[in-house]
């Protein structure tokens, strides 16, 4: 018997730097039950959310368009480590709150990743250079230390950091 799919979900997040002050981040999800998107506009240098909008085009309730007006309440907050909790409170009374929160969260996460991309673009390819690069990154951002398998105290990438500590 062929293993025919019974469910499939696609989620696509894309981040555009509209100009040197403005970032647009969009996340769209499509699956058997739902088709929805959220779009945010973020301003530099504070990563302040200036606009947020979204729609649910198809849901278990049917194909009546649901416009997510309430998302605009996020305006004024900043994309950063505390944003998840703020999103949680904003979507509280929005239909399909959990799904909408995930979309908004993905948009914010994407903004951060778009900056991380530039950083890793400049990471050296050779082993020694790589060690130095990551040791310096962790030194500048101590919360990254031991934050994943590659940055544990016994990881080769953290060798030079250990030396510095002694």
């Amino acid at each position: 018997m062929a293993d025919i799919l019974c469910f499939s979900r696609n989620r696509c997040t894309s981040i555009e730097h509209v100009d040197d002050q403005t970032i647009r981040s969009t996340c769209r999800v499509q699956d058997n039950l739902m088709d929805a998107y959220v779009e945010i506009m973020v301003k530099l240098p504070d990563l302040e959310l200036i606009q947020a909008k979204g729609e649910i085009r198809r849901s278990p309730q049917g194909t009546d368009l649901i416009i997510l007006d309430d998302l605009q309440k996020v305006a004024g907050s900043r994309v950063g480590p505390g944003i998840r909790k703020i999103i949680g409170s904003i979507v509280e009374h929005v239909p399909y709150a959990e799904s909408v929160a995930t979309l908004l969260d993905e948009c914010c996460n994407g903004v951060i990743l778009s900056f991380a991309r530039d950083v890793f673009l400049n990471a050296p390819q050779d082993k020694a250079g790589e060690k130095l690069f990551f040791a310096n990154m962790v030194k500048a951002n101590p919360r990254l230390y031991n934050s994943c398998a590659a940055l544990t105290p016994d990881s080769p990438l953290m060798e030079s950091l250990e030396l510095d500590k002694n």
């Binding site: 979900r9 981040i15 504070d46 900056f115 991380a116 500048a140």
Partner: protein, 366 residues
């Protein structure tokens, strides 16, 4: 200009009558990897997991793969399922893998609901995990006793104004008892419990003080749309996210004190100036209009983020404090605040905070 894309695909098919097979793929500008999960159709338990990198961030990322097994046995009905995946798989393995696993699990859950509905099957009842702790009771006012000062108060008192304990702060991994013991051990004069949106009952804290013969004060770290604020002297449980202006009003009425916690956390991850944030622009942030002081030493942020906060506070002429933001063992007292006078209870603390003359200090590793 398109700067970044992340695509996630999660697909589900029925492996057998009781098991869903879920395949997940993540592709973005930085990472590329896949996971395969077996998930129980009825109990939504992760039965098996396999993962593989296609493109990664650094040469040590493969170390994450064995730790994916930590997720086996987790059930989606458990109240803290998401947090467990983020905390355990995210930290031991890789947070991007944790992200894709959660996407797959969410998809599997929706698929299971759909399948069971279509087949008219009743889902066996889930065993709900009891909440770890009940809602904290409204504060009962307890007469605060004055406690004899610790042995070395001649140079003022050093108090860690920012600590988190489990279970009051679910993100913490250290109990309040352990926190107190460690604080005493390293010679702090006191700590202030600032659990997230949690109001400690005064008598509970009084019991802890007597038991440990140590100064324990109560504060609260409250989430606002403008970030986290350490609040002192507010006898009110604030849940969820409150507008900073509304919080300000409450605290003023209560005669309390507000300190903006780690104001630039995460903003200098990519280096000063990367986002174009200048001291002048930062000083104009609305949050600084509504607080009494700025936390400029916090051990959960980078040195740059701390020193930037100090520059901004100096520019605004706001008082500055330090606190560890301890969330685990060995962290309490990383930073603290030195007060010139004697502090024996919460009224003293608030008076001292309003009076000024205190300073943030590096304590544990000085």
């Amino acid at each position: 200009m398109l700067k970044f894309t992340r695509n996630k695909l999660a697909t589900v098919y029925r492996k057998d009558g009781r098991t869903l097979a879920v395949h997940g793929v993540l592709e973005d500008d930085i990472y590329g990897f896949e996971v395969d999960l077996d998930i129980g159709l009825f109990n939504l338990e992760i039965l098996a997991i396999r993962g593989k990198w296609n493109r990664m961030e650094n040469s040590e990322c493969p170390r994450a793969i064995p730790f994916l097994q930590e997720a086996v046995g987790f059930r989606m009905n458990e109240e803290d399922f998401t947090r467990k995946v983020q905390k355990i798989v995210g930290r031991k393995a890789c947070r991007h893998f944790a992200d894709l696993i959660l996407e797959c699990c969410q998809t599997a859950k929706d698929a299971a609901t759909m399948i069971l509905q279509e087949e008219g099957q009743e889902k066996p009842p889930d065993i709900e995990i009891d909440e770890l702790f009940g809602k904290s009771k409204p504060a009962i006012s307890v007469q605060e006793k004055n406690h004899p000062p610790g042995p070395e108060v001649t140079g003022g008192m050093v108090i860690d104004l920012h600590v988190h304990s489990l279970p009051a702060s679910p993100c913490s991994t250290i109990s309040v008892e352990q926190l107190i013991e460690q604080a005493k051990e390293i010679g702090l004069d006191g700590i202030c419990l600032t659990d997230h949106n949690h109001l400690w009952a005064p008598n509970q804290v009084e019991d802890l003080r007597q038991k440990h013969d140590f100064l324990i004060l109560r504060g609260n770290e409250i989430t606002t749309e403008q970030g986290d604020i350490l609040v002192f002297g507010l006898e009110e449980e604030v849940k969820g996210v409150i507008k900073l202006e509304a919080l300000r009003e409450k605290v003023l009425q209560a005669g309390g004190f507000m300190i903006v916690a780690h104001p630039f956390r995460g903003f200098l991850t990519f280096g000063v100036g990367y986002l174009g944030l200048t001291k002048e622009k930062a000083m104009a942030r609305p949050v600084f209009k509504w607080v009494d002081a700025v936390e400029v030493l916090n051990s959960k942020v980078s040195e740059e983020e701390n020193s930037f906060a100090a520059q901004v506070a100096a520019g605004l002429g706001l008082p500055v404090t330090g606190g560890s933001d301890a969330h685990g063992p060995g962290e309490v007292g990383n930073y603290a605040t030195r007060f010139p006078g004697l502090i024996q209870n919460e009224q003293d603390l608030i008076k001292a905070l309003k009076k000024g003359g205190y300073s943030p200090v590096t304590f544990r590793n000085k």
